[in-house]
């Protein structure tokens, strides 16, 4: 058990110009916490994890595990276990040998290894497969062996690098829950990398969003969803994505076609202080609704309806200024509008509006 | 510097044994051999500890090169030997590649006895070459040889294969082709098996004929392995002396550059190390030129070396 901290850690790949894959990362993870690093590909999330594992140099700054500076410690001295995206099972060893390999290297007595492997195998429902080679296992079983290999070692930190991305959708959801439950039970500090924001939201105690090597925001899933720190986090978290449009400001609020969304005083003052005549206006699909007959709304032409059973997502275009912008609205699944129909859309609650600076992307509302 | 060592010492440690051995046993002799080309060293003036004789060879500048390139027959008829070497090399490598590819394509089909064919076809590679050469010398024997007896049986003329004529060159080429095809075949077969089957399926869906699939899927798929094979094949064949030497000895009709170097090296009491080394240096420079051109031509396919 240990807490983990990145202290202004950077990884710079040489080149012209040098690429700052991870740039000044400042992040601490509490003991027993499940932290998810999420971001699009090339965001530096895997590099950050590999720096912690000791597989990637730390060019600037430092990394500590359990308060101990491990910046220059080789992987084997860090007391970590890692689950790889490809699982990286040793193809020439059986499942049991794979799981016990690290213990064997540490000189743990054979009987003890066998006991620990058997226990982990029970936990992961692998007992029947202990004598098989990885080649003879299904994808899900391999994934569990990779987990087992990490568990058996009882490390102070688990590192997981997209461990579910090679599974099919159904198994992924199932395994997601299993991993979260397992982590809960073991109470081991876990850093988990994924590009899938649903995984991030459902698994992490806290989620750190990275982009271009820079930490955008690190917060609980709820906080991340409700109060994204900038337009990138707002667009990245949530599915379908938040509607984010640049709209003109009026003294009353933001103008979207025929709809003027009233904004709080503080937001308007903030925008005025920055001298903005436009803002990046963000609203989640579920915060939009179809307007009643007598309500003001923005006119949307329906282009696509995704029916999901309980809900339906309506995709359509709205004229904002000179341009036609696409919006996504969540509606009741039983009464969706038809294709090509024109509907009036309004905001469910003005408090659910997110405003961002159109230049910097930073959140304007407090 | 310390970080440099800290970062790379493992790589250097792992490569060190080879670097030391190659340095001491290849580069050092190579340098000395190149130095010999500028001297008149031979068996008579070399240092001989057994006879307590000191080296007495002298520096002669470019004399050896001038002699080799201009003196004709007494120095191995360099230019006509070079022409023969080119025929030998291109003929052997071309036949190796074509036959190897043909057999690999046949073997790459699912069929009965596939494993057996494979073992039989690779067998020539497993037998030490001097034994194979000895067998072939018998087969080509003009009186008792199976080849001529077969020709005789068909009522065809029965030439002297390994005699003083260009037939001898043809014969050694046949022998060398027999020896070299298995290696090519095995390597190309490996290459074929690594071409994803989906590519063939896609090509078939696109309506490609068998020939088009071969030209547009198989050949490009083999490109990287082929370019290495041909490069190594040319270098090895150019320098292959034991087949010719063991088959026809010093027959001028089968003389190529490297066998002449050996003739100078081993023949008679004089043992002209200087001229032998000069030939070696010329071979090295010819191959360097070839490799430079070859790599330039194949560069866009990705570097192998």
């Amino acid at each position: 058990m240990a807490e983990v901290a990145y202290v202004n850690a950077s990884r710079v790949f040489p080149g012209t110009p040098p690429v700052r894959a991870v740039d000044n990362l400042e992040l601490s993870v509490a003991d027993g916490e499940f932290l998810v690093l999420v971001g699009p590909s090339g965001s530096g999330k895997s590099t950050a994890l590999r720096m912690l594992a000791g597989l990637e140099d730390v060019d600037e700054g430092a990394i500590t595990i359990g308060g101990k500076d491990v910046t220059n410690t080789p992987p084997k001295g860090r007391d970590i276990a890692m689950v790889f995206q490809s699982y990286a099972l040793y193809p020439h060893m059986t499942v049991a040998e794979n799981m016990g390999f690290a213990l064997k290297l540490r000189g743990v007595p054979k009987a003890e290894i066998r006991e620990k492997v058997a226990e982990a195998a029970r936990m992961l429902d692998l007992t029947r497969y202990l004598d098989r080679k990885p080649k003879a296992l299904s994808g899900g079983q391999r994934q569990r062996v990779a987990m087992g290999r990490a568990i058996v070692r009882e490390p102070s930190v688990f590192l997981m690098d997209e461990p579910l991305s090679n599974l099919d959708a159904k198994l992924r959801v199932e395994t997601r829950a299993n991993i979260a439950a397992l982590q809960q039970r073991l109470g081991t500090t876990t850093i988990y990398v994924t590009h899938d924001q649903v995984e991030a939201m459902t698994m992490g105690h806290r989620v750190a969003v990275l982009k271009d090597g820079i930490l955008q925001q690190c917060a609980s899933p709820r906080e991340l969803y409700d109060r994204p720190a900038n337009a990138f986090v707002a667009s990245f978290i949530g599915s379908p994505a938040m509607n984010l449009k640049t709209v003109p400001l009026t003294p009353e609020g933001a103008r979207l076609d025929g709809l003027v969304v009233p904004l709080s005083r503080s937001a308007l003052d903030g925008a005025a202080a920055e001298g903005l005549s436009e803002v990046t206006f963000g609203i989640r699909p579920e915060s939009l609704r179809l307007a009643a007959a007598d309500e003001a709304g923005m006119t949307m032409t329906v282009e696509l309806v995704e029916e999901l059973g309980a809900d339906a997502y309506v995709y359509g275009s709205v004229r904002i200024g000179e341009q036609s912008e696409r919006f996504i609205v969540r509606v009741d699944g039983r009464t969706p509008p038809a294709l090509g129909q024109q509907v009036e859309v309004t905001v469910r609650d003005a408090d659910e509006v997110h405003l961002f600076h159109p230049g910097t992307g930073l959140r304007l509302t407090a | 510097m310390r970080t440099f060592l800290a970062r790379h010492w493992y790589a250097y440690a792992m490569a060190l044994p080879v670097v030391v051995v190659v340095g001491v046993l290849v580069l050092l002799p190579l340098a000395q051999g190149l130095y010999f080309t500028f001297t008149d060293i031979n068996e008579a003036n070399i240092a001989n500890p057994a006879l307590e004789r000191r080296a007495s060879y002298e520096f002669v500048g470019l004399d050896n090169y001038v002699k080799v390139l201009t003196r004709g027959e007494s120095y191995g008829a360099f230019w006509s030997t070079l022409a023969r070497t080119l025929i030998w090399t291109s003929g052997c490598v071309l036949a190796h590649y074509c036959l190897g590819l043909g057999l690999a394509l046949l073997l790459n089909r699912p069929m009965r006895f596939r494993g057996l064919y494979r073992v039989l076809l690779i067998l020539p590679w497993a037998v030490p070459p001097f034994i194979s050469v000895f067998a072939w010398r018998y087969l080509f024997n003009s009186q008792f040889g199976v080849v001529n007896q077969a020709l005789d049986g068909l009522g065809l003329p029965t030439p002297v294969w390994l005699g003083q004529s260009d037939l001898a060159l043809l014969s050694v080429m046949v022998i060398n082709i027999w020896l070299g095809v298995p290696f090519m075949m095995v390597t190309l077969l490996g290459g074929l098996q690594s071409i994803p089957g989906e590519l063939y399926e896609a090509a078939e869906m696109d309506g490609a004929t068998a020939w088009q699939r071969f030209r547009d899927v198989t050949l490009p798929g083999l490109r990287s392995v082929s370019s290495t094979l041909v490069l190594l094949g040319v270098i090895w064949t150019f320098n292959l002396f034991h087949v010719i030497f063991l088959t026809t000895g010093q027959n001028p009709h089968t003389r190529i550059l490297v066998t002449y170097a050996f003739e100078r090296f081993f023949s008679g009491g004089t043992r002209d190390y200087a001229v032998a080394s000069t030939y070696g240096a010329l071979i090295l420079s010819l191959l360097l030129v070839f490799v430079t051109i070859y790599r330039r031509a194949t560069r866009r396919q990705g570097e192998v070396w």
């Binding site: 597989l55 992987p75 084997k76 276990a81 790889f84 990286a88 099972l89 040793y90 690290a102 080649k135 994808g139 391999r142 070692r153 590192l159 | 790379h8 493992y10 790589a11 792992m14 490569a15 044994p17 080879v18 670097v19 190659v22 001491v24 580069l27 002799p29 190579l30 051999g33 500890p49 057999l103 046949l106 790459n108 069929m111 006895f113 064919y117 039989l120 590679w125 037998v127 030490p128 000895f134 008792f144 199976v146 027999w178 095995v186 390597t187 077969l189 490996g190 074929l192 690594s194 089957g197 078939e204 798929g221 392995v225 290495t228 320098n239 002396f241 190390y273 070696g280 490799v291 070396w305």
Partner: protein, 302 residues
């Protein structure tokens, strides 16, 4: 789909469904006859000279060469008895020397090629390209012409006449090609495996020894085969660098007794040849299932 299984399959050179197997139906009878006909002919050509040596080895010298050869002609095992009993030289001593020298050359050659191949495959160190280019250049000079300088160096190192000296010389001739080949095999082992090993507590050498080497076994088999054959059949260096005493010769050198005399003793030579070829063929048989794919490894990823 996971990397480990796919990599293993390609590393093992396992015959996956051949590309041309994309043809679903049966091939026509004619095509089938053509295919087998071509392969039978090629196999016959490949095997015949070897078969002839085998047949001859059982014939008396006088019968071995005759204007009307017959397959079995007064066949005896006399030739083998003569050769093995040492009537023509200490065959068993030669055999032992060859086994020692070829075996050591294989071990040393494969081991140093493997470490170098691993360094080239996994580390981006300065001089890496230079090393590979040097290897290529070493293949270009008719190395045997260097017998004189090599002789001097071995003498200076005190290795002249020692089996170890010859072993080192053989290694220099095989190492460049073996390194290239093994490097390609190592490239085919996913680096994730290395990293998993390092996280599990292996040193870089441990990763090489316990994970990468076992996974590159087909490549090792092929390089071993190649090194063994090179050392086993070599004549020029062996006659130059080993002492002239009869019992320190290798087989290939010793066998020259049968050829160098004016009348070639075909029967005896054939019997001796069979005895020499036998270990090579055994080694061949042991590694033959690795040969296909083993030579190319991951080199041709497509």
């Amino acid at each position: 789909m996971s990397v480990d299984a796919a990599a293993l399959r390609s590393a093992r050179g396992e015959t996956r469904a051949a590309p041309t197997a994309a043809r679903r139906g049966q091939r026509s009878r004619l095509a089938s006859i053509g295919l087998h006909g071509a392969l039978v002919t090629a196999s016959a050509v490949a095997v015949f000279p070897i078969l002839w040596v085998l047949v001859t080895s059982f014939k008396p010298d006088t019968r071995a060469v005759s204007p009307t050869p017959r397959l079995l002609d007064e066949s005896t095992v006399d030739n083998y008895v003569d050769v093995l009993s040492g009537a023509r030289g200490d065959f068993l001593a030669w055999f032992g020397n060859s086994v020692t020298i070829a075996g050591l050359s294989t071990l040393v050659g494969v081991f140093v090629s493997a470490t170098t191949g691993y360094a080239v495959s996994r580390f981006r160190f300065p001089g890496r390209r230079g090393l590979m280019l040097t290897f290529l250049v070493t293949q270009m000079f008719p190395f045997a012409v260097l017998i004189v300088p090599l002789h001097n160096i071995l003498l200076a190192l005190g290795l002249l006449g020692q089996p170890l000296g010859l072993v080192l010389v053989y290694c220099t001739t095989t190492v460049p090609f073996c390194t290239l080949m093994l490097r390609e095999h190592f490239d085919a082992v996913p680096t994730d495996i290395d990293e998993a090993g390092r996280v599990d507590g292996l040193s870089p050498f441990g990763v090489f020894w316990r994970l990468v080497l076992p996974l590159a076994r087909p490549g090792l088999a092929v390089t071993a085969f190649y090194s063994f054959l090179t050392a086993w059949g070599e004549v020029a260096f062996a006659s130059a660098f080993l002492s002239v005493a009869d019992d320190s010769k290798t087989l290939s050198v010793g066998l020259q007794v049968f050829v160098q005399q004016n009348r070639a003793e075909w029967g005896h030579l054939a019997a001796a040849s069979v005895l020499v070829a036998l270990p090579a063929v055994v080694v061949f048989y042991l590694v033959q299932r690795f040969l296909v794919g083993g030579l190319t490894g991951g080199a041709v990823k497509g």
